[in-house]
Symmetry: C2
């Protein structure tokens, strides 16, 4: 849907939440549809859903400029590289701390502009070393309430595991409390996954009802260290692929292997 | 999230889209959170997700007053009866034309009030004889853009099948064109299902890109008559159950069988 912001600037957010069932991954499409170019970005696209995402971008008359990730995913392959092959001009984005390749490597405090809208980058390590949260701006011409794309740092009534990829329950606790729970309580939480069919939450709701992050740090660490989760099925394929935009980055390998 | 409307009335919509993966069903929670009671309603709840839905209602401090269906579903069992056993005072709603039992049987043109907000009922038969679309009001104190809960009459880039339950491709074509495509183009379309991970569309988008309903009626009827869909797995269980609020309506059967 579209939300108009109540200021002098004519920025107008078009926002779509998209779902991939197998890995229960959310992809987000954001665009400034008041800008003549309708510049757009996709957060956490999934390789097998790229055709759906590109069709939607085209039908809505948007110009995709960024395909970005919140972190190096272990459970699915990112669509950023494939999108770049299909829509030349799109730039991939991931955090510098992820130690991955992309066109733009971002760090905490940076802004990612699309039209008159922008996302701020917050470092939220703990699920992985390079996790970031993208938050809509806090200026009067930016969407109200604010929106936080938390990746796997904060899930609705949950959080990402901390036992792989440089994860640390100590760091995750600190990240969520210092970087997410300090946002206004009505800030909308849009995670990278949901396994129970929730689509959105708020900072205020998670501060009250998140079963893990409402606990003190010691209890939280105890919970995280005793999850007894199985080894992620796709991690050995997905992580190396996602460190190069999902294998399909043309700069990384010859064209013949792109369709693999 | 919450959307404030820009008028004298202080009505403020809290809105949540909820998903059930097995049948790809969307359930919608709407509430007027500016009203002291925070009255709420659920559209198309699924039996196995009732505990999730009730927890969320309680955490958000809402008072659920209605549990309603867009139509008699053939692919899952409604949660309306089960919700009534768990939250006494909730009233079930379905269309009179569905020939089903419920506390309130609604017809085209009726309004369903919750706090200072309301939904209008539009008759949209064709997928089933009793299908309705619930549309937010067109007054200045109601949410902008408007929202249409279309059930299976109009899906995102699709529509419900018309070969069972009094379905008719002729009627469905007429319903969508006369009752949904006549709404403002920015009206948000919230369907009962999505199988590709889309969460929302607009009237304008479907008028341009719906692969079935953009066709002339004859082509549409041809498409619908040649879908060659298999017999719905759950229809023989779900339809009779859903005609009495999903089996679990206490007025219909003894308490012992409720947990079946
Ligand atoms: Fe992850
Ligand atoms: Fe249906």
């Amino acid at each position: 849907y579209t939300t108009s912001s109540d200021s002098a600037s004519s920025a107008k957010l078009l926002f779509r939440q998209l779902f991939e069932k197998e890995s229960s991954t959310y992809t987000y499409l954001l665009a400034d549809v008041a800008h003549p170019d309708k510049p757009a970005l996709l957060i956490d696209p999934v390789d097998k859903m790229v055709d759906r995402d590109i069709s939607l971008v085209k039908e809505l008359g948007l110009k995709l400029i960024y395909a970005m990730n919140t972190h190096v995913h272990a459970d699915h392959i990112t669509g950023t590289g494939l999108i770049k092959t299909k829509l030349p001009g799109v730039k991939s984005i991931i955090s510098k701390a992820s130690n991955s390749k992309a066109d733009r490597l971002i760090e905490a405090g940076e802004k990612i502009h699309f039209g008159d809208l922008f996302l701020e980058v917050r470092a939220t390590p703990g699920h992985t070393l390079g996790c970031v949260t993208y938050v809509t701006g806090d200026r009067p011409n930016q969407p109200q309430p604010r929106m936080a794309f938390t990746g796997d740092a904060l899930l609705i009534r949950g959080c990402g595991r901390t036992d792989f990829q440089g994860g640390s329950s100590h760091q995750l606790y600190k990240s969520v409390h210092s970087q997410i729970f300090t946002l206004p309580k009505n800030t909308l939480i849009y995670p990278a996954h949901d396994y129970k069919g929730f689509s959105v939450s708020t900072v205020g709701e998670e501060m009250l009802y998140n079963p893990r992050l409402t606990k003190d740090e010691e209890t939280f660490q105890n919970i995280m260290e005793n999850l007894k989760l199985s080894y992620p099925k796709m991690i050995d394929i997905a992580v190396p692929a996602n460190m190069v935009c999902g294998l399909q980055d043309l700069s990384e390998r010859p064209v013949e292997s792109v369709s693999n």
